[in-house]
Amino acid sequence: MAKITYIEFNGKEHVVDVKPGLSVMEGAVKNNIPGIDADCGGACACATCHVYVDAAWQDKTGSQSAMEESMLDFAENVEPNSRLSCQIKVTDALDGLVVRMPQSQH
């Protein structure tokens, strides 16, 4: 299990254990954490699971794929540490990961 901290835009923190193999998005949805809509269910088709990866974790979560980068190009409030959380696979190495959510996914 990897402990992941999801921080809503309003600052509310949710710390949950996520099974390796799931995506960071699935970890949020399965725990009913608000702020990650994931309309397409993880098909990288909608850009509604946008998160900011805490600086300390950017190396371990990897970088945006070409598809993801194109999708994020048109999302709101994109930062250099923006990712689509459906594209980050949870591994034991991500134990302790912290992600923050944007104000809105739409």
Binding site: N32, D39, S70, M71, F74
Partner: protein, 408 residues
């Protein structure tokens, strides 16, 4: 006795989301979901895509984990059909003889696969792809050497054809119209998909009429066309569209017009009753008309509308409808609807499997179909919503970024 609260009829993507949104919006009353399938709300799109190919398991299909419903006080009544609606008594009759009272009702009964009225349609091996149970049957039937006849060259049929090929099955698509994706306006997209599927070994028979399913001992052995040809097959998947499950509403006297008529807050002609998802005939403010949509995006938008209206939140702004389809390594993303479009513009190169078809009305984008072109999809989604005019020369030039096109 506690108040009956909100009852949601239909445990699909729309119904499950409505319950979650009610809780997210702070609704504290009782919430009950009644569904006729034996399982908790799940996602249907993967049934013809990742799940069918074996790339997603049953748990991944679940819309929410089961613990969600207990933790958030959402009661699930599963495997039970709602048979009647008494609006005066504000009560539902269930197939098991029980009744269920409501303060507010959300009808999310979805749609069902349109049957093909041909002899032999009841043979074992004539399949549909709508529910997880349907998908289980189809998946078990596909494999190397199996022969699948897909009836209907729409998205469900094409996704099943792609998944069937991935599982090693022999696939033929039988389509009534003279092209696949007949509901799509532009010729380039159907041509592209047909060629792509053919390169993967799928055969197409266009402009054909199904005369009968033929069988032996109650089991399907082939599909016979009106021209006399018989296509031998082990399974036939019928994917010729869906019809709304609006009988409950119609019988109760709610206004229906090929779906339950709702307003922009998903409210029906009865102020205590909402309807969401595939079953609704809904306003499309951007296109100034009523329409019935079948998509996850629609289910989610209306789930938010209904939950918001019930808790008294201001109505969310209208969204641009969108959808997607995965076939082989192709991601097709669509936004808007080509209503009132007077021109078509293709950006990019179909031969390179990376292009977008824009449907324009004057300088305004009404709809897009983007093949492996996420920037075009995302930009168009915004431009369709804002109705901001675009420079057609820039749009047609892939060297000009979509950011620049959108900036005007």
């Amino acid at each position: 006795m506690s108040e009956p609260g909100v009852v949601i009829v239909g445990a699909g993507h729309a119904g499950g989301t409505a319950a979650a949104m009610l809780r997210q919006y702070g609704y504290e009353g009782a919430v009950t979901i009644v569904g006729d399938e034996p399982i908790a709300p799940y996602q249907r799109p993967p049934l013809s895509k990742a799940w069918l190919k074996g790339e997603a398991d049953a748990e991944a299909l679940m819309l929410r984990p089961l613990s969600f419903y207990t933790e958030h006080g959402v009661e699930l009544i599963l495997g039970v059909r709602v048979t009647s609606l008494d609006r005066t008594a504000k009560s539902l009759g269930l197939a098991d003889g029980k009744t269920l009272a409501y303060d507010k009702l959300i009808i999310a009964t979805g749609s069902r696969a349109r049957p093909l009225p041909a002899p032999g349609a009841d043979l074992k091996g004539v399949l549909f792809l709508r529910s997880a149970a349907d998908a289980e049957v189809l998946k078990a039937a596909l494999g190397p050497g199996k022969r699948l006849a897909v009836i209907g060259g729409g998205y469900i049929g094409l996704e099943a054809a792609a998944s069937g090929r991935a599982l090693g099955a022999d696939v033929v698509v039988l389509e009534r119209e003279d092209r696949i994706l007949a509901r799509v306006a532009a010729g380039v997209l159907p041509k592209f998909f047909q060629a792509y599927h053919e390169a993967k070994g799928v055969r197409f028979e266009l402009g054909v009429q199904i005369e009968a399913f033929v069988g032996d001992g109650g089991v399907l052995t082939g599909v016979r066309l009106a021209d006399g040809r018989v296509f031998p097959c082990d399974e036939a998947l019928v994917g010729i569209g869906n019809i709304p499950n609006d009988e409950l509403a119609r019988d109760a006297g709610l206004e229906c017009a090929g779906g339950i008529v709702v307003d922009a807050a998903a409210r029906t002609s009865d102020p205590a009753i909402f309807a969401i998802g595939d079953v609704t005939h809904r306003p499309l403010p951007l296109y100034d008309r009523m329409f019935r949509l079948e998509s996850v995006a629609n289910a989610l938008e209306q789930a938010k509308q209904a939950a918001g209206a019930i808790v008294g939140r201001p109505a969310p702004p209208p969204e641009v409808t969108w959808n997607w389809s995965d076939q082989y390594d192709i991601k097709l993303q669509m936004a808007g609807i080509a209503f009132d479009a007077d021109d078509i513009l293709v950006r990019g190169d179909p031969a390179a499997a990376r292009f977008a078809v824009f449907h324009l009305r004057g300088p305004v984008i009404r709809a897009v179909e983007a093949v492996n072109a996420p920037s075009e999809f995302m930009a168009a989604r915004q431009l369709i919503g804002s109705q901001k005019p675009v420079d057609r020369a820039k749009l047609a030039d892939p060297a000009v970024s979509m950011k620049e096109v959108a900036a005007g």
